[in-house]
């Protein structure tokens, strides 16, 4: 048997961004709009935090570290210049009234037009000497400064020159520049608060998104699971279980990845990018525009890269799928490989596939090895540009040093989200492919038609009639050929025939596992297609050829989780089917946990459980499809007794090989090549000397 592990289906890949598919995801997300919106609000807040952090060193530098003032000496300059200055920029100046006309703060300088600034500097109006503004009380009583090193301001301030400070002890400097020091401390404290808050917000955001993502995933999984479960048996015949399991597990998992990625990339990174752009424009729009000159290159490279990366990514997926498919086939067919001395030739081929994969992944490495560093180069060129152009502006005093530092910080931040987006590319792509498969499956409706208005019989007694029923699983090969028979309420009917004669198909149709086109099947005088599907199936208690055991307790395997079936009923029934003896020997009795597939139970024990399962259901028709083939003759005799005792309660249809089982039937239907060829009691049929007689003799030879 080949088992599809989902390794071979990677050949189909979706487009990385398919809006139509994303739209279908939306209704699932809408259910959790509250946590998602909350997370988005938090994201916004976090972005603000992230944007604030590089700004703080700027404030520290500009406002507190480099907090000097330049003296304005109107007397040293031509009168016209001095008057022009007063008119245009007088409001910036803190006037004194002594030899110096006043002082202008370093931070205010950028408000003076560059041309004017140069002229004032040249004319000696604006000195380049640096002074710090110090509160009056701090200067008094201290050492006497040399002339020119301190200047009294108009307010309660003194201006102390930078040279004047240099000769002082640290304590004195700290005292004089107390304001700056306190400013630095408050920035540090503010940062501390900020990062504390940021931790909480980040945690909240991540967790909210994770939670929403998980619940959305579970909703999709369960909807998909429900849809698959509702498909007809024909669907399950066509789709291997492994593939369906991959859909509800791995594919849904991929979707979750994408959900998180989309939210994170679309919102977080875009917020951040937008925020950086705004801050940069605000700091200095000219410099901002200069640094944005890099953006077209960034997008060009990203675009070029992503198209190349997509190709090679697909190629690798293809190679891996080929390797896995090859490997899986050779492992399953290992006997053929060894018997036909295929080791060498197959290894050569495997090596070839493997090497192709290696080459493709080397191409991928090369692409990434070009892309990642080229982004870094762009980022460094950005910094270079800032230092050259922005530094020029600092010299020209149009930009504060702190702003330049902040600019550098932001530009470095700028490239991260862009890199992120391209790294998320692979995730997006495989998620899109998964999404396509999931929704493709959800759109598939291959269900058994429910009648518009289900009919209910006047009396439920288990009266079965097949009228001229023909059926084929695949077109062209008929499995049932004009089958007609009737089983009256309370009758025990046996279906006999060689393998492949159509016995199990009769049961499949009675259960409405498959739709049939020709003829009709009546249950209690109503066409089964007019019964509600669930209603119909609850009339039939089916025990199948290979018993399916669920992982769970013994009791659960009998009741199948039906609350209507009490503990007492379970115990009562297991006594009836002779299962109580082996159950009693199991550790924990009815609570004994059965492992996956019921491997710890013998075939006979499993059949007894299945029989109990059917009886617990109180069906009007009991259908036993080779249900007692694996129990020992002694147990079978006991079960037989039970069945014949119970058979007064319901109609019974038995498919069996053992003559002893068949002989007890009121009526035997002999099937051959999809037709009912003989019908009657054991004695009648033996006398007939046809197929039944041969079957019987064949059975005796076993």
């Amino acid at each position: 048997m080949h088992f599809d592990y989902g390794y071979t289906e990677d050949r189909h890949l979706g487009k990385p961004y398919n809006i139509g598919l994303l739209k279908r995801l939306f209704p699932y997300a809408r259910v959790y709009k509250r946590p998602i919106c909350a997370a988005l609000v938090l994201t916004l807040a976090i972005t603000l935090f992230d944007l604030t952090v590089p700004y703080l060193p700027k404030v520290a530098i500009d406002t507190y570290i480099l907090s000097f003032w330049y003296p304005v000496r109107e007397g040293s300059a031509p009168r016209a210049t001095a008057e022009e200055f007063r008119r245009k920029y007088g409001f910036l100046m803190d006037p004194t009234g002594i030899s110096e006309s006043g002082f202008i703060a370093n931070a205010q300088l950028k408000r003076i037009d560059l041309g004017d600034l140069r002229r004032y500097r040249g004319a000696g109006l604006l000195s380049t000497e640096r002074f710090y503004r110090v509160p009056e009380d701090k200067v008094q009583g201290d050492r006497a400064f040399e002339p020119g090193q301190v200047i009294k301001g108009r307010g309660p301030y003194w201006y102390v020159s930078a040279e004047g400070l240099q000769g002082l002890s640290s304590d004195q400097v700290l005292k004089l520049r107390g304001r700056d020091l306190r400013g630095i401390m408050s920035i540090a404290l503010f940062l501390l608060l900020l990062i504390g808050g940021s931790v909480i917000l980040n945690y909240g955001e991540f967790f909210l998104l994770e939670k929403a993502g998980q619940y959305i995933m579970q909703d999709i999984r369960m909807e998909l699971f429900g849809r698959i479960q509702d498909q007809s048996i024909r669907f399950f015949d066509r789709n291997p279980v492994g593939r369906l399991v991959t859909r509800v597990t791995n594919d849904v998992e991929n979707l979750n990845e994408m959900f998180k990625s989309v939210i994170v990339t679309v919102f977080k990174d875009i917020f951040l990018l937008a925020g950086i752009i705004v801050v940069l424009l605000d700091l200095n729009w000219r410099l901002a525009l200069v640094s944005f000159a890099l953006l077209p290159f960034v997008f060009l490279i990203t675009w070029f890269f992503s198209s190349r990366a997509r190709e090679v990514f697909r190629e690798i997926r293809r190679h891996i799928a080929a390797i896995n498919a090859f490997l899986q086939e050779r492992i399953s067919g290992i006997r053929v490989v060894q018997l036909f001395l295929g080791e060498e030739s197959q290894f050569e081929r495997f090596k070839g596939l493997n090497h192709e994969n290696y080459l493709a992944s080397m191409r991928q490495i090369k692409i990434f090895a070009v892309f990642m560093p080229s982004m870094e180069v762009l980022s460094a060129i950005g910094i270079g540009l800032l230092i050259f152009y922005g530094g020029g502006k600092v010299i020209g005093e149009q930009l504060s040093l702190g702003s330049l530092v902040a600019f550098i910080g932001y530009i470095q931040m700028f490239f991260k989200p862009i890199r992120d987006i391209s790294e998320k590319y692979n995730t997006m792509q495989s998620a899109m492919a998964s999404m396509e498969r999931i929704f493709g499956l959800m759109d598939l409706r291959e269900v058994i038609r429910e009648p518009g208005e289900p009919q209910r019989p006047a009396k439920r007694e288990g009266h079965v009639e097949f009228k001229d029923v023909s059926f084929s699983y695949e077109e062209g090969s008929r499995v049932l050929d004009h089958v007609s028979f009737e089983i009256r309420p309370g009758q025990v009917a046996a279906l006999v025939g060689v393998t492949g004669s159509g016995k199990t198909t009769i049961i499949n149709l009675l259960e409405r596992f498959y739709e049939f086109e020709e003829g009709s099947i009546l249950l209690d005088s109503i066409d089964i297609r007019n019964w509600g599907v669930h209603e119909l199936r609850s009339q039939v208690g089916l025990v199948m050829q290979d018993v399916f055991i669920f992982a769970g307790s013994i009791a659960e395997n009998i009741s199948l989780g039906d609350r209507g079936v009490t503990e007492e009923t379970v115990e009562e029934i297991s006594r009836q089917v002779q299962a109580h003896r082996f159950i009693g020997r199991l550790s924990g009795g009815f609570d004994h946990e059965v492992k996956e597939g019921g491997a710890t139970l013998s075939a006979g024990e499993r059949q007894l459980l299945a029989l109990g399962r059917a009886l617990a259901y109180r069906p009007t028709i009991l259908v036993l499809d080779e249900a007692t083939s694996s129990v020992d003759p002694e147990t079978e005799r006991l079960i037989q007794g039970t069945i014949s005792r119970l058979s007064r309660r319901q109609t019974t249809l038995i498919v069996a090989h053992r003559p002893s089982t068949i002989r007890q039937a009121d009526m035997i239907l002999v099937m051959h090549h999809g037709r009912i060829v003989e019908q009657g009691s054991h004695e009648e049929l033996m006398e007939l000397g046809g197929v039944y007689l041969k079957l019987n003799r064949l059975q005796e030879k076993m």
Binding site: Y5, L56, P57, A60, I65, L66, L165, L174, L181, I184, I187, A188, I195, S198, V199, N202, Y203, F206, F207, K211, Q214, R221, V245, V248, I323, L327, E329, G333, I334, V336, Q338, L339, S345, N354, Y358, I365, A369, E376, A380, I381, G384, I387, F388, V394, L401, I408, Q412, E511, L542, M544, F548, L560, G561, D562, Y617, G690, K694, R697, L698, K701
Partner: protein
């Protein structure tokens, strides 16, 4: 942990030149990366003192761009070489696993599921590759970049460095703790994930029961319950993950707080320049990655070594069936087979599949082996090409003990058609030749003709080059059986074994195939297991097995008149064939 990686040692040695160049480039990149904040510092300082002019600035800008370009080149080199190395390791390891798998005996495949082998050859190799590539990079980078950054910081200002480094041990510690917890949470989530998988598998595999008993709701709630537990586990994982990055940035930012506070103070005092202050902040940023890398790398290596252990589980598996002696027989095999007291017991079984079977098949004989289901026919046939190693007793071919014959010679002299026809997703031609050098097309065509497949193949648009399998032509059971027959007779082997190889072929075609084969095999040994009387009757000698014992032997007529097991089987078969004939 490192000892698990020992099988990879030789690849590291093989790639040592590329690796050392790659890792040196990585170190160069680190060094260059560290110099950028220095340049920024110098530029800022020049700007602060007012010494800067456009020319100086341009120089700095160009230096940065130059460094960046050099970094790009070396980054390319290390990425190419180091990641390339990890891909080479992946390729070599995968080849090695595959090659080793081919040598393992059936007994290994009895106890190991295909799914398990696939998981190791697919998922575990990925984890190992990550450890060999990213792990190596993160390890080198984390240690070197981390130390160098600290060095640079110390160079600028020792006390400031020490203060700003206070949080780093916590970062390493937390990252270690958190990655470990992440690993645990991750495994837990994986565990529940496979439970979800199993419950879904069960629901789909048992769909008939579920539908027959209207238990859809029950199964739904069972899957949902597992899914809910999976959510719980994922959220636990999420809680740790949610903590991870914020806590990491918290510690880096605490460093920043220290630098602004104390560094700012030093700058005000004039002990440190503004440029140093800025550079310090840049270095602190650079330090985040190595700190996290150290935590991450332990995780990566742990996962890699766990995967490597699982892969070693396959690689250390010793092939049970190999050549036993130094100079095994490599000559011609004519096809005389003797079994002496051959006995076989499947693992974990108590009842012998074969017991004390002694028989002789003369060279050139056509032999039929008959018996009911589970009588040991297939087991006996599989012992001849040494697919299974028998316990007591022995097999001699041409008077040579099976163990003394070269395995390749032995298997090369046998054409074996297995009970279940195995066809590969490949062309028809490749399925017939299966890598053997069958020189001329004529031989392949003859084989197809004898297997009664030639006309069907020729009617396909691409003929013998048609692709089979999911993406190509789907064959019916009978066609598959005929294809595997063509594969076996294509080499015209000394011994041909057909293990119930025509069960899905209709009677008329079977007779035609058999005629062809027997005519072609005149004078060569042919062993046939079949249920069809017409086939069995044509054998020179018939051996009857029952529950692992040889109960009768002789030709058709003598066995029939003896009225024993064969007669019983014969009668039964006759009846069932008669039944099939009834219309």
């Amino acid at each position: 942990m490192l000892k698990d990686f020992r099988p990879l040692k030789r690849y590291f040695i093989e790639n040592r030149i590329a690796l050392s160049i790659g890792l040196s480039s990585l170190l160069l990149v680190d060094a260059l990366q560290l110099s950028i904040p220095r340049v920024i510092k110098n530029a800022i300082d020049a700007l602060t003192i007012g010494e800067a002019n456009p020319h100086v600035l341009l120089t700095y800008a160009l230096i940065i761009a130059g460094i960046a370009l050099a970094m790009a080149v070396f980054r390319y080199i290390w990425r190419y070489l180091v990641f390339g190395h990890s891909r080479k390791v992946e390729e070599a390891l995968r080849n090695r696993i595959y090659q080793h798998l081919q040598t393992l005996s059936l007994s290994f495949y009895w106890r190991t599921s295909t799914g398990d082998i696939m998981a190791r050859a697919v998922n575990d190799i990925d984890a190992v590759r990550m450890a060999a590539g990213m792990g190596l990079v993160a390890l080198t980078d984390g240690i070197v970049l981390g130390l160098a950054t600290i060095g640079f910081m110390l160079y600028i200002n020792i006390p400031l460095t020490l203060i700003s480094l206070i949080p780093t041990p916590f970062i390493v510690y937390f990252s270690l703790i958190l990655t470990r917890r992440l690993g645990k949470d991750f495994r837990q989530a994986q565990q529940t994930f496979s439970e979800v998988m199993e419950s879904a598998r069960e629901a789909f595999a048992g769909i008939r029961v579920v539908k027959a008993y209207n238990r859809e709701g029950w199964e739904y709630s069972r899957v949902k319950q597992k899914g809910d537990r999976y959510i719980e586990n994922n959220l636990a994982l999420g809680r740790t993950l949610a903590l991870f990055f914020p806590v990491m940035t918290l510690f880096t930012n605490l460093g920043l707080v220290a630098v602004i506070w104390l560094g700012g103070r030093l700058t005000i005092l004039g002990t440190t320049t503004t440029g140093d202050f800025v550079a310090f902040i840049s270095y602190l940023n650079l330090l985040t990655w190595p700190m996290m890398a150290l935590g991450w790398v332990t995780n990566l290596l742990q996962r890699g070594s766990a995967s490597m252990r699982r892969i070693n589980g396959i690689l250390e598996e010793v092939p049970e069936i190999t050549d036993r002696i130094v100079a095994p027989y490599k000559g011609q095999i004519t096809g005389q087979i003797r079994l002496a007291r051959l006995t076989f017991l499947y693992p974990n079984r108590t009842k012998h599949a074969l017991r004390d079977i002694t028989l002789t098949i003369r060279s050139g004989q056509t032999v039929a082996i008959v018996g009911g289901v589970g009588s040991g026919k297939s087991t006996l046939l599989q012992a001849i090409p040494r697919l299974i190693e028998t316990g007591r007793g022995m097999i001699m071919i041409d008077g040579i003990h099976l163990h003394d014959i070269d395995l390749a010679t032995l298997r090369g002299s046998i054409g074996f058609v297995t009970q279940e026809p195995y066809v590969f997703s490949d062309t028809i031609l490749n399925n017939v030749t299966f890598g053997r050098r069958i020189a001329d097309q004529g031989t392949v065509n003859d084989a197809l003709r004898i297997a009664q497949l030639r006309e069907e193949v020729e009617s396909l648009p691409r003929g013998i080059q048609s692709l089979l399998g999911e993406r190509g032509v789907t064959l019916s059971g009978g066609q598959r059986q005929r294809l595997t027959i063509a594969r076996a007779i294509g080499i015209n082997p000394s011994i041909l074994i057909l293990d119930d190889a025509l069960s899905q072929v209709d009677t008329g075609t079977e007779a035609a195939i058999l005629n062809g084969i027997l005519q072609m095999r005149r004078g060569r040994t042919t062993i046939i297991v079949s249920h069809r009387l017409t086939t069995i009757k044509r054998a020179d000698i018939i051996y009857v097995l029952r529950e692992g014992l040889l109960v009768e032997s002789g030709n058709h007529d003598t066995l029939l008149s003896a009225g024993g097991e064969y007669a019983r089987l014969y009668e039964r078969q006759q009846l069932s064939e008669e039944l099939q004939g009834v219309r």
